[in-house]
């Protein structure tokens, strides 16, 4: 545990993956429960950072299975044994994990990567194209995401490639329910929770409390609003007043990410040129 993270000056030397990690980490509070799925280097780095700084008691279920693990660093897979190192408990999946996840009292926040995300936060990891049985691209599939979208979780999306291909007017297939067609559509189905935040390589978005349309919350330092809008496949709502800049990481956070959490740069995977 480092103690200088609070007093550390704002970093000038940092990469956007590090900014996304610190932004995501800031959303997890002490005592929250977090879990991760496969290829989830940004969330895993964020959980590890939170546990080393402001949220030492953040409960982490590595790969949704290994309770309170002590991985030596971010490994090449977020769904393999090195991530569960020194776990306190192996949580059996069929019964125990889903009893905990579906219950609603625990694991309230869930991080999601999605191939397509639309203006209402509906996510697609299933198929690209109109014909489900003969898709243009068969994506991996929804895995547990379709569950997490419907059982009261707060969904935090991360997207390393903000583009009109990944942020689309309407998803080709709803693999996970966002706000559906907006307004009170979720409530009418009895669904609680839903998308909260979208963190990309350009900006941070949230959702308007009434219309449930995606809204720009902040742009990353050096990125203009016009750039973000141009890279988005639909018109973003704007916040009241001027658009703030996303808070950059501190020097101590960057040092922790680079030297302690992820010295092998796994977090860069999935980024263009990463």
């Amino acid at each position: 545990m480092t103690t200088d993270w609070q007093s550390s000056p704002v970093a000038t030397d940092y990469a956007v993956d590090e900014l996304m990690i610190t932004t995501l980490a800031g959303l997890f509070k002490n005592g929250d429960q977090a879990c991760n799925g496969m290829a989830s280097f940004i969330p895993v780095s964020a959980f590890m950072l939170a546990r080393l700084t402001h949220a030492p008691d953040l409960v982490w279920l590595a790969s949704a299975a290994g309770l309170d693990p002590r991985p030596d660093r971010v490994p090449a897979s977020t769904l393999e044994a090195p991530l569960w190192r020194d776990s306190v408990m192996y949580i059996e999946q069929y019964g125990d994990f889903w009893n905990l996840a579906l219950n609603g009292r625990w694991i309230q926040k869930f991080c999601v990567g999605a191939a397509q995300l639309d203006r209402y936060g509906n996510a697609n990891n299933s198929v690209i194209g109109d014909d489900y049985d003969r898709p243009q691209v068969r994506l991996p599939g929804t895995a547990g995401l379709a569950d997490m979208g419907s059982i009261g979780k707060q969904l935090y999306f991360w997207n390393p490639n903000h583009s009109p291909r990944s942020l689309v007017e309407k998803v080709d297939f709803i693999s996970a329910a966002g706000y559906l067609d907006g307004g009170d559509a979720r409530e009418r189905l009895g669904l609680e929770g839903g998308p909260e935040v979208v963190i990309t390589n350009l900006a941070v978005m949230d959702f308007h409390p009434v219309s449930k349309q995606m809204r720009l919350q902040s742009v990353h330092p050096g990125v203009t609003v016009a750039t973000v809008q141009k890279a988005t496949g639909f018109e973003l709502l704007m916040p009241e007043g001027s658009v703030p800049e996303t808070a950059p990481p501190t020097e101590a956070q960057v040092r922790l990410i680079r030297e302690v959490i992820d010295p092998d740069n796994m977090r860069k995977r999935g980024f263009r040129g990463g």
Partner: protein
């Protein structure tokens, strides 16, 4: 107790063309790959495959033309990429996908195991998975007055294929302390038949020392085969890790039908035993460093 010892060939002869086969697998983890190879060698056809998260096994079965349906939550080799041969087969319409969320798959198998017509879940409500699957998923009013739930129709696999750390000759199956994915927790209980490969067949006395580690009772198991490195190239914690080089080699071969076929000929169709397979792969012993690497601190 009845003896269940079989060869790979005898075990897979229990699988008929067109059947529904549940396969233990989690991306790059814990797939009964020796059984998968035997499905290909015996040229099974028109199988439906149930996976939670399928990996290379799905890609091989797709490339070899063994499966025409997939029922599952995801297919991916994670760091080694999408399963291309599977993906191409789906895009060409040769494999039909029944995509389910994890809680829906668990509910379908759970209903199958408990002889119920369905089990409900709250997962997947609001998604397009439901409209795509009217035969198996229906919204249902809560008879007690709450919000509607999703009824998930019972799914009974004809056979479940699993790999384990050890078993005795009566088919009692033990796992070392490890992550237990739902496919171990529910697939064998739902299936009509269960085929197990184990890293080692041991005397029942060994199992009696740790009965809490016995996960499948012998009476539900139809065949058990001793297959060291039976999950290779997937990982089998704590015995061995995944084979990165082999995954990369396949991911490259899978870009093209001819190279995929050549790969499968070399590693699947040509070796006539597990030993010949291991010899074809090369030195696998270094994969076993997982235990010291993960536990030494």
């Amino acid at each position: 107790m009845q003896e269940k010892i079989a060869t790979l060939s005898e075990a897979i002869e229990l699988v008929g063309d067109g059947q529904v086969v549940a396969l233990q697998n989690m991306a790059t983890q814990a797939a009964p790959m020796a059984l998968v190879r035997e499905l290909i060698r015996q040229q099974k056809r028109d199988l439906a495959l149930i996976v939670l998260v399928g990996g290379m096994a799905v890609d091989w079965l797709a490339a070899a033309g063994v499966i025409d349906r997939l029922i599952g939550a995801a297919v991916s080799m994670e760091q080694f990429g999408l399963c291309r041969q599977y993906r191409y087969a789906v895009e060409a319409g040769r494999i039909k996908v029944e995509e389910l969320s994890e809680s829906v798959l668990n509910a379908r198998l759970g209903a199958g195991a408990r002889n119920l017509p369905f089990l409900p879940t709250r997962g997947a409500i609001g998604t397009d998975l439901i409209a795509r699957n009217p035969d198996n998923l229906k919204m249902l009013d809560d008879p007690f007055g709450g919000h509607p739930v999703l009824a998930c129709r019972a799914l009974v696999p004809d056979v479940a294929l699993v790999h384990a750390h050890r078993a005795d000759r009566y088919g009692n199956v033990q796992y070392e302390p490890t992550i237990l994915w739902p496919d171990i927790g529910i697939m064998p209980m739902a299936a009509k038949r269960v085929i197990v490969t184990a890293e080692e067949i041991v005397d029942t006395e060994i199992l009696r020392r740790n009965p809490d580690r016995t996960r499948l009772p012998g009476f539900i198991v139809d065949a058990v085969v001793e297959v060291p490195y039976g999950a290779h190239p997937t990982s089998f914690f704590p015995n061995y890790t995944y084979d990165s080089g082999f995954h990369r080699e396949w991911a490259e071969a899978a870009r093209d039908r001819a190279t995929a076929t050549a790969f499968i000929d070399r590693y699947v169709r040509t070796p006539s035993s597990q030993q010949e397979y291991v010899d074809a792969v090369g030195d696998v012993s270094e994969l076993s460093t997982i235990q010291t690497a993960e536990h030494s601190g």
